[in-house]
Symmetry: C2
Subunit: 392 residues, 2 copies
DNA sequence: CTTAGCTCGGAAAGCGCTTACCGAAGCGGT
DNA sequence: ACCGCTTCGGTAAGCGCTTTCCGAGCTAAG
């Protein structure tokens, strides 16, 4: 593009009819010229040195206001070696599905809430979130992630989209925080206390409700969160001597559709359902609820169902869903804060490896779907205070 | 929660041994050195010129792979004058609420789905989304938006966060597309066909169900979408000679909590509820449903309730929510495509101001909450094909 | 054997900003 | 009235990349 292009010629404010952002954004040189100072002074004023004296300062600020100037992000980033941007990789359900907008995309809710948590904290530090989705089975996810990394100061990975080796490689170049992974020698992982939450839930179902047969509807394969939750449940089940069903039939892939399909298949297969179905997350519990309702199976009367995450929807379902609450936004906020400290520390003296796996507290939220009566719905906190109070 | 908590401090791995991204990302100079060529050649290879011959090309590619090189985004952006980033401004409920994470934040779902639509299309063009939230009553929203603009190639504004004058000013510097606004001389607006959708819904309620008293639960004040929807309903109501309640009592602010509060207030005030409550969006309809249920008012038996947007949750409610579907993701996709073409056209010959207000089709989705029986629930498409078939 | 016509690839000029570095004033002290 | 000290603010050197401009080397034609 040439600047001799007549189309770029300066346009008088009212002229050229409907403007149309052809005016080009003003540069620091424009400001300097209007203010009658050098670009260095402009920069100094804008970056809060105390160097320029009041009068100069005023002239510059007036020019800035008049022109509507703001420094170019790329130029600034190049100069100060800080982009004030963190890259966020979210996982796209399927590698560029031809049915571009699959309806089950409703499951995006969870990652998006996490992002919101990040964003709010990022604000405070002047950072923004650069979002990119990557398909799980995408050809060269590695390259696409790296590319995002070079557009930002650090990366937050929502899901396992990279092999450990790729992750390792990547984290040598940029600070990386994972959300549903496992910490590596150079990355930090942030997650809810799956273990604790699931144990509390399991104990409630086993001891308070006395259920004796269970099933665990897993998330997608290899998900560390799902594995941990499943293991915790299995451990409690074993300790109490109750039956736990699990396996490939019991997989909802974290999605509503997945949960529904799994139940449909099981029912079609003539399997006798357990007394309680513990789902890996709320989303798949929704699907289970639907499939059960479609077959006239009462929840929690015939089968109890529970979720995990306690998304906002959980309380809008009928029956209201018993779940394990994790402060989703805190997950994001913590991930960002962690990354932020890594970014600042980058290149500085390295300290001992500590706190590489951060677990945030979770809390059992009893609602109706586990068999608790509507009375305990009002205040989950209250209910929790009752300890093991019977409610079935 | 305090972020000064030492537990959050990141500590780099023990020695320099384990990596720990202290290695600094390789630059094009590193690649050139390793490959034994000049940086110009590296750049040429990477940017697909046909200039370098095969042997040189191989050497470079080998070096790139070995070092794990990817060009720095800021440097590249500065050079080619294209960041391949579009800024997205979403509206934060309230200007930095002290209760940082208000629970009603569930309403974030809608903008996030739109973003997802954008992101998918942006991928194809190599763009990413830079997200920033701005409070509606934020001190200098204008500056914060401008700053985001300078970090990107164009802006998509979700909500009215800027005054028309600010918008006008901004759009002289960068291409801008709004989602819930009105087109200006230099910005394009993308929105669902509120008018058509609402008219279809109104006619269904009036003619198919024969309801005679209505209320419109508005969104937040000044929202163009809400205004248009309200006007369309009013127009149909007037034409049919049925009663329509509206006004300050009937405002849900697009939120579940808002909808619930409005109903609570009305009931407390002893107001006689209309036969049908038409909500400005699904989110507030959820609140209405809850409030009604809390008072033992049957839906749709006593009062029919409808939403707008047809979010995924709509079909998980009891009763399933009748709504007006707009392809939320298409909204985002279209907004991006529009902006993209503006970005490319930037600086080139300007064309006639045309298509500045883009309306996407909407479609009535009949479920249970309007009074239609569960039989028409199975396939909304089928139901739609039946035309005005009676279902009440 | 010379020279016009190629193709390759290096040197260097920016892109818009920050920030040493340094010369020019302004100031009080002797 | 002169000298060192402190402030101010301009000049210029990058930040890492793309791309124009050219010279070098090679091929093929005269």
């Amino acid at each position: 593009m040439s600047f001799d292009d007549p189309a770029l010629e300066y346009q008088a404010p009212g002229a050229a009819s409907a403007g149309g952002h052809g005016d080009q954004a003003p540069t620091i040189y424009d400001v300097a010229r209007v203010a009658g100072v050098s670009i260095a002074s402009v920069s100094r004023v804008l970056n809060g040195q105390q160097n320029p004296r009041q009068e100069t300062r005023d002239r510059v600020l007036r020019a800035v206001a008049e022109l509507g100037f703001a420094p170019d992000g790329a130029a600034r980033a190049l100069s100060v070696r800080l982009k004030e941007v963190v890259g966020v990789i979210v996982r796209r359900p399927r590698w560029h599905d031809s049915s571009m907008f699959a309806d089950e995309d409703e499951n995006l809710q969870f990652p998006d809430m996490i992002n919101r948590g990040m964003e709010i904290v990022a604000q405070r530090h002047g950072f923004d979130l650069l979002i990119r989705s990557v398909g799980l089975d995408e050809p060269d996810a590695g390259r696409r992630v790296l590319a995002l990394a070079r557009k930002s100061d650090g990366l937050i990975l929502h899901d396992r989209v990279l092999s450990p080796a790729e992750l390792e490689r990547l984290s040598r170049q940029v600070p990386v925080v994972t959300l549903a992974g496992e910490p590596t020698s150079s990355t930090v992982n942030v997650h809810g206390d799956n273990e604790g939450g699931m144990r509390a839930l399991a104990r409630h179902l086993i001891h308070d409700h006395g259920y004796a047969t269970f099933a665990f509807l897993a998330g997608h394969e290899g998900s560390p969160d799902s594995l941990t939750r499943g293991r915790a449940l299995a451990s409690e089940a074993a300790a109490a001597g109750v039956t736990l069903l699990a396996g490939d039939d019991w997989r909802g892939g974290y999605q509503a559709a997945g949960g529904a399909q799994a139940i449909e298949r099981l029912i079609a297969g003539g399997v006798r359902l357990p007394r309680a179905i513990v789902c890996a997350n709320d989303q798949s519990a929704i699907g289970v609820l639907h499939a059960l309702a479609a077959h006239g199976i009462s929840v929690p009367g015939d089968v109890a169902v529970t979720g995990f995450d306690d998304m906002p929807v959980a309380r809008h379902l009928r029956p209201q869903l018993t779940s394990v609450r994790q402060s989703i936004q805190d997950l994001g906020a913590t991930a960002f804060e962690t990354l932020y400290s890594m970014i600042n520390r980058s290149g500085q003296a390295k300290e001992s490896p500590r706190g590489r796996d951060i677990a945030l507290p979770t809390r059992l939220v009893r609602r109706e779907s586990c068999g608790c009566g509507p009375q305990s719905v009002k205040s989950a906190a209250q209910a929790a205070d009752l300890g093991g109070a019977a409610c079935a």
